[in-house]
């Protein structure tokens, strides 16, 4: 789906305003919440390159988020790496893990792709919880995941760490904007729109899908690292299939195939979760109902509100 430039600008304003809130409302609480949103948004932006742009429904993205988080945690806690090199390595590990999954997964399409990515990711979840206990700490996870030490600034202060996350988020967002607008991004959309025609024009469809998956893995790796660092902790929960489900829900809610839609989707999801969980333990069920209502009334997600009417009426993300 295409949003108008005005729509994109409006969404940008909303995201920008959200990013500014913790600068006004200091004290760490707002920073923590928006940081969480931005980290998940980074994950969702990467996920949507595969889902919204290339048209593959991955149900294994938890494995990519988790392996990045574990890479950072293990390298910093057990091997004494500095944060920044470990973050770079986590991006590579996420990408490598995506490459590994893609070897199997891009050969099949549609539902089989979703099921295969789910199965492979579950395998990694089980491995991390049991067989690889020595490395991952099993179900206990790894505590004491550090934060970066940069320019002598105390990043254990949530407001300071927030600035770091904003910078990483904006870099990730900018790179993705470029990727999506580039010939590479267009070729992914072409593969989604008509795979046979794309191949006939000379595109190596499998290779393109694989590239999208690997880039998505790098995004997930960075997001997983930041998440572990934000909460000082990682456990197999980050590898759980429900993580793959959450990022899917957030992306659909926000509007797949758009740059800022997934960001808004994450924001709404996290804010609702934050509010609802204060009142009821059944917050996830209510979120589910919200999601169902959204798919009926906002078939193109929140971003659909910012699209020209003609596209909105078509009722499908493009």
């Amino acid at each position: 789906m295409k949003t108008t430039w005005l729509g994109t600008a409006l969404m940008g304003l909303i995201v920008g305003a959200m990013i500014l809130v913790p600068f006004v409302w200091t004290g760490g609480e707002a920073a923590n919440l928006v940081a969480l949103i931005l980290v998940w948004a980074l994950f969702a932006i990467g996920f949507d390159l595969v889902f919204g742009t290339a048209g593959m429904l991955s149900f294994g993205h938890a494995a990519l988020l988790g392996s990045g988080g574990y890479a950072l945690a293990i390298l910093t806690v057990a091997h004494g790496w500095g944060f920044m090199p470990a973050l770079g390595m986590a991006a590579l590990v996420g990408a490598a893990m995506a490459f590994g999954l893609s070897i199997f997964a891009v050969r099949v399409s549609g539902l089989f792709f979703s099921l295969l990515t789910l199965a492979l990711a579950q395998m990694i979840y089980v491995l991390a919880s049991t067989k690889l206990r020595g490395l991952t700490g099993g179900l206990d996870g790894i505590a004491g995941v550090p934060r970066p030490a940069l320019f002598g600034i105390d990043l254990y202060d949530n407001d300071n760490f927030y600035v770091f996350i904003v910078v990483v988020f904006l870099i990730g967002l900018g790179l993705m904007a470029l990727l999506r607008a580039s010939p590479f991004g267009r070729s992914l959309r072409a593969v989604q729109a008509n795979e046979v025609r794309a191949a006939q024009l000379g595109y190596n469809v499998q290779r393109l899908r694989q590239a999208a998956f690997v880039i998505s893995g790098a995004y997930a790796g960075v997001a997983g690292s930041l998440l572990a660092s934000l909460i000082f902790y990682i456990s197999p929960q980050m590898l759980h299939w429900s993580v793959s489900g959450d990022v899917l829900i957030m992306t659909v809610l926000g509007g797949k195939g758009t740059l800022l839609g997934p960001v808004l989707g994450v924001a709404v999801f996290e804010l609702l979760k934050e509010e609802l969980s204060q009142y009821t333990q059944y917050w996830y069920g209510i979120l589910g109902a919200v999601f169902i209502a959204a798919t009926i009334f906002l078939p193109n997600g929140i971003a659909g509100l910012f699209a020209p009417r003609r596209d909105r009426d078509k009722g499908e993300g493009r």
Partner: protein, 249 residues
């Protein structure tokens, strides 16, 4: 344009137990236009699918300029100089006509798609797409989403997409199918212009058009080539008249 010799040697294609092609052998010489005719279900589209890599061949080989392309993937054959349009239109919905053509141009120009610049910055690609846009007569619809085009215009876009790959060998599967009378002359003119200088296989049910454009006609029936010859010879061939044109000899 040099080269463009396409050869089929004893090509067989089977769908399960059904033999869609049984032993197609023919040489398509550079720069010549071959009209492929035959009743529905004769295997014409299947032959194009086999030549362009969309279905595996059970037996036999295909050569493009003496290079064996039988085992190559679809995109590899395209890069070897093969172009293809489809009987059922295959365009990129959700993108404008110009974007459709640019996607074809990028595929032709780059093996690894550039990811470091916005697509709009590639002026050569834009120019190439605009040239074809004009060639197929869609300039005034450049910014219209492709799925909103009339059927006839979509057929023109379908042909345009194949042109950006500058194919030496062009497979056209019923490019005029469903084109309305008012657009027919324009469409025929387009086909006539683009076939010159290429090796072309043209499937077309409009007999006047195939006979007018083709150097040689191949008549297919039930997965085999029943007859070949000049349009004149085929028209007067009694076996063809009875098998295909449905006439008594």
């Amino acid at each position: 344009m040099t080269g463009g010799l396409l050869r089929c040697e004893n090509i067989h294609v089977a769908y399960g137990a059904f033999k869609a092609l049984s032993g197609i052998t023919h040489e398509f010489r550079p720069g010549h236009v071959y009209g492929l005719i035959g009743p529905n279900g004769a295997g014409k589209t299947t032959l194009m699918n086999a030549l362009s890599g969309h279905v595996p061949v059970a037996q036999g080989r295909a050569f493009l300029d003496d290079r064996d392309v039988t085992g190559l993937s679809i995109h590899a054959r395209t890069r070897a100089g093969l172009g293809r349009s489809f009987q059922i239109t295959k365009i990129f919905a959700g993108m404008t006509v110009l974007e459709n053509l640019e996607i074809a141009a990028f595929a032709h120009r780059y093996r690894v798609q550039p990811f470091w610049l916005p697509a709009g910055r590639f002026l050569k690609v834009r120019e190439a797409a605009e040239r074809v846009l004009e060639q197929v007569g869609l300039t005034r619809l450049a910014h219209r989403p492709a799925e909103y085009l009339s059927h006839g215009d979509q057929r023109a876009l379908e042909v345009g997409l194949t042109l950006l790959g500058e194919p030496r060998v062009l497979l056209l599967d019923e490019p005029l199918a469903g084109v309305g009378n008012e657009q027919l002359e324009r469409a025929i003119g387009l086909i006539q212009r683009i076939v010159t200088g290429r090796t072309v296989l043209l499937i077309e049910h409009n007999m006047d058009v195939v006979m007018r454009i083709s150097h040689e006609i191949l008549v297919m029936v039930q997965g085999q080539i029943l007859a070949t010859g000049s349009p004149e010879q085929v028209r007067n061939n009694p076996a063809v008249r009875s098998a295909y044109l449905g006439e008594e000899p």
